[in-house]
């Protein structure tokens, strides 16, 4: 509620009819809870510039853990003034307070505009505040008033056990937090990064060169900080804080811990080039931050003389670059799976995370002196083919139609019978009889009949159903 509304005597919780009586030309809107929550999240994003530890206090509040950050903004009072002034300029009405415990600060914001409470003076600061500032449930607040406890000081003057007996332990816990007698941690929206480097600009920057130069400068700083602890970054995030409050975060992943500033720089360059929705500086960025949100210890390995491990590093670097441009899911390696279902025999995994596993994977040995038993190209979804009635019920077809072309079978081998994994108890599917067939042109196909004759291919009355045939792959 803003000052103008307060001046004419409106209050939160007043019925619309009463509000109309006070101010006849008032306009009424439905509350949009989702939009409010979104606006709060945007403000929280913006507040990331002050501290990495920002927590939501829905519906209207934010907690900022500013331990150790205040000196960056010239002290607590200046920081508080800066936060309030910036948010007011963005069009929000702000109440803010700095106190030793989050609950105390929250109680203060409900009653005063801005206040800084020195360490240990929480109880004195909230003494004269009305009880609603505690933010307890309505029933509790009403109960306190009815008991004649008008201010927080009144409540605090009673014995804790009396209060606990009347209003429950949760309430006394909260009271103690407000009085600064115990502290509960806030739960930040995202975990604080392990390492971060940032740069504030007195004058907003907007040109591509400055941004790129800033990112590589920050990468240098970050690498130095990580090196001191023997760490390398696996996930890096660059956050761009725009003057108008919008925040854009761009992340890159690396398969191996990154320890070189040049590499970080290169990964971000790839990412920027490939952004579908390019970085929009608007009126410029006034803060750019680079943080390592996931780090791994760097193991210094002795290099082999055959330079194979160096090759692997080069591969990993190439994969990281491609992944930064195309997305990690597009760079794939394959791992063998212990199953005989053809489509599940191979697992595709992102190469960034599974490269070393793939290089040492044990693939089943092929049989010597055998032609290939599996096709080189396999369709993700087997394609249905038209087959005239087979001369032998269980045998391969003599001709079939695939993609509107008819193929006459010259050679055929099979069946290779593959039963589905009934023990996994998924949707019951038929047993497949696979045939390897060659047509007159020399094309070789892998086709199967879905279902066994007689046992599986009959309806409830025992009538025979025509089997369906599918083409699953093509041999080289």
């Amino acid at each position: 509620m803003n000052d103008a509304a307060a001046a004419i005597g409106l209050e939160i919780g007043v019925p619309v009819a009463n509000a109309r009586a006070i101010c006849p030309d008032i306009e009424v809107f439905e509350a949009n809870v989702a939009a409010d929550a979104q606006a709060l999240a945007h403000i929280a994003d913006w507040c990331d510039r002050f501290t990495p530890l920002v927590a939501l206090d829905p519906p209207y509040g934010l907690f900022l853990d500013i331990s150790g950050c205040t000196h960056l903004f010239g002290g607590e009072d200046r920081m508080l003034a800066l936060v309030c002034a910036s948010l007011t300029r963005q069009g929000f009405a702000v109440n803010a307070a700095i106190a030793g415990t989050p609950a105390c600060a929250r109680a203060l914001t409900r009653a005063v505009r801005s206040r800084i409470v020195p360490e240990g003076r929480e109880a004195a600061a909230v003494e004269h505040l009305p009880v609603f500032a505690l933010g307890a449930e309505d029933a509790v607040t009403r109960g306190l008033r009815r008991a004649g406890l008008k201010t927080i000081g009144d409540v605090a003057s009673r014995e804790m056990r009396e209060i606990a007996a009347r209003f429950g332990k949760a309430f006394t816990d909260m009271l103690q937090e407000v009085l600064g007698q115990c502290d509960a941690p806030i739960s930040p929206r995202r975990p604080p990064p392990d390492f971060m480097a940032e740069r504030h600009f007195p004058e907003p920057v907007a040109t591509e060169e400055t941004i790129a130069a800033t990112v590589s400068g920050l990468a240098q700083k970050l690498v130095v900080a990580m090196e001191r602890q023997g760490k390398g970054a696996r996930r890096l995030e660059a956050s761009f804080f725009r003057v108008d409050g919008a925040v854009r975060t761009i992340a890159v992943d690396a398969g191996q811990p990154v320890t070189h500033a040049g590499l970080i720089d290169r990964l971000f360059r790839e990412r920027f080039d490939a952004l579908a929705d390019p970085l929009d500086p608007g009126f410029g960025f006034d803060l750019i931050r680079l943080s390592a949100s996931r780090v791994d210890a760097v193991v210094q390995e002795q290099r082999d003389l055959d330079a194979r491990s160096q090759d692997n590093d080069e591969m990993a670097a190439l994969i990281d670059r491609l992944a930064a441009r195309l997305g990690g899911q597009r760079i794939i390696i394959y791992l063998p799976q212990d199953t005989h279902i053809p489509e599940h025999a191979v697992l595709a995994m992102p190469a960034q995370t599974h490269l070393s596993k793939a290089l040492s994977a044990q693939w089943p040995q092929r049989c010597e002196n055998e032609p290939p038993l599996r096709p080189l190209r396999m369709f993700e979804r087997p394609e249905e083919i038209k087959v005239p009635a087979a001369s032998v019920p269980d045998g391969p077809p003599s001709r079939f139609t695939w993609r509107r072309a008819t193929h006459a079978v010259v050679h055929a081998e099979g069946p290779e019978r593959i039963a589905m994994e009934w023990w996994k108890n998924e949707t019951s599917t038929f047993t497949r009889d696979y045939f390897r067939v060659e047509d007159t042109e020399g094309l070789r196909f892998w086709i199967y009949r879905d279902g066994l004759y007689e046992s599986e291919l009959s309806d409830d009355k025992g009538e025979h159903i025509d089997p369906k045939w599918f083409l699953h792959g093509v041999f080289a």
Partner: protein, 270 residues
């Protein structure tokens, strides 16, 4: 000597070095494919660190062309990892590259990294990046349909990248007609029929009908080749490339192994 003269001299030396680099035979490394006729036409085999093109003019020939390209890459890559760049559309049209099938051809799926790309431009960019990384043995770039983007400039860029790093590049083009390029060799591959005459008999190794339609340093030709999955080389098709009597596929061995007797090699199926 004055500074200006020194720099003139240096630039002249540079120019001479540049001219020599073009005319002097570079260190060429050729890899035999294994088929005698092909290798003699290619004067020893395929050139490593160069651009080769494999075409399947029709979609249904895609698997044969893929097999030929895979065999080429196996010969060229020298047991180093390979990058396979694949356009998304190729996967849905011609089927995904199956690692089981890859292993059945005698190739090693461990060394393959697949990159799925949405379009041909990206495919060419990724291929150029891969060619710059000399930890790789070869890069395969699989394109689909008529190639507007793969023009002379693009192929020249890939050729230069392959030359400077020594990584071989194989373009696998399906459903398209060859266009002007700087490729070292260009092949049009189709499936070839198996040799065995009687119907219902098993076939042998993969048979390919490979036509060499472009060869920068020699003649062209057309051969029927067989890929030998065990020795991992191409061969002339042998008259009896397979055992005369195939072992029964789906039945247990007729005579049970005597107790303490020999170990019978059974054919693996499924």
């Amino acid at each position: 000597m004055t500074g200006a003269r020194m720099s003139t001299l240096a630039s002249l030396r540079d120019a001479i070095r540049h001219l020599e680099a073009q005319t002097l035979p570079q260190q060429v490394e050729r890899v035999a494919l294994g088929h005698a006729g092909v290798d003699s036409t290619l004067q020893g085999g395929l050139l490593r660190g160069a651009l080769h093109e494999v075409f399947a003019t029709e979609t249904r020939q895609s698997a044969s062309a893929t097999g030929f390209a895979a065999g080429m890459v196996q010969r060229l890559s020298n047991y180093r990892p390979m990058l396979w760049v694949q356009q998304d559309f190729a996967e849905s049209e011609a089927g995904a590259l199956s690692m089981s099938g890859f292993a059945e051809l005698g190739l090693d799926p461990c060394r393959l990294v697949l990159v799925r790309v949405p379009n041909a431009e990206t495919a060419l960019k990724v291929t150029a990046d891969g060619l710059a990384c000399d930890a790789l043995g070869a890069v395969v770039c699989e394109l689909w349909g008529e190639m507007k983007t793969f023009d002379l400039t693009a192929s020249r860029r890939l050729t230069l990248a392959a030359q400077s790093s020594g990584v071989s590049c194989v373009m696998l083009c399906t459903s398209s007609q060859p266009a002007a390029s700087t490729a070292e060799t260009r092949w049009v591959v189709r499936a070839a029929r198996s040799l065995s005459g009687s119907a219902w008999s098993a076939w042998g190794e993969p048979m390919l009908d490979a036509e060499l339609v472009r060869n920068r340093h020699g003649q062209r030709g057309r051969w029927i080749m067989e890929w030998n999955c065990d020795e991992r080389i191409f061969r002339e098709p042998a008259a009896h490339s397979q055992p005369l009597v195939a072992a029964p596929a789906d039945r247990p061995h007729p005579t049970p192994a005597p107790a303490g007797g020999s170990v019978t090699h059974l054919r693996r199926v499924g």
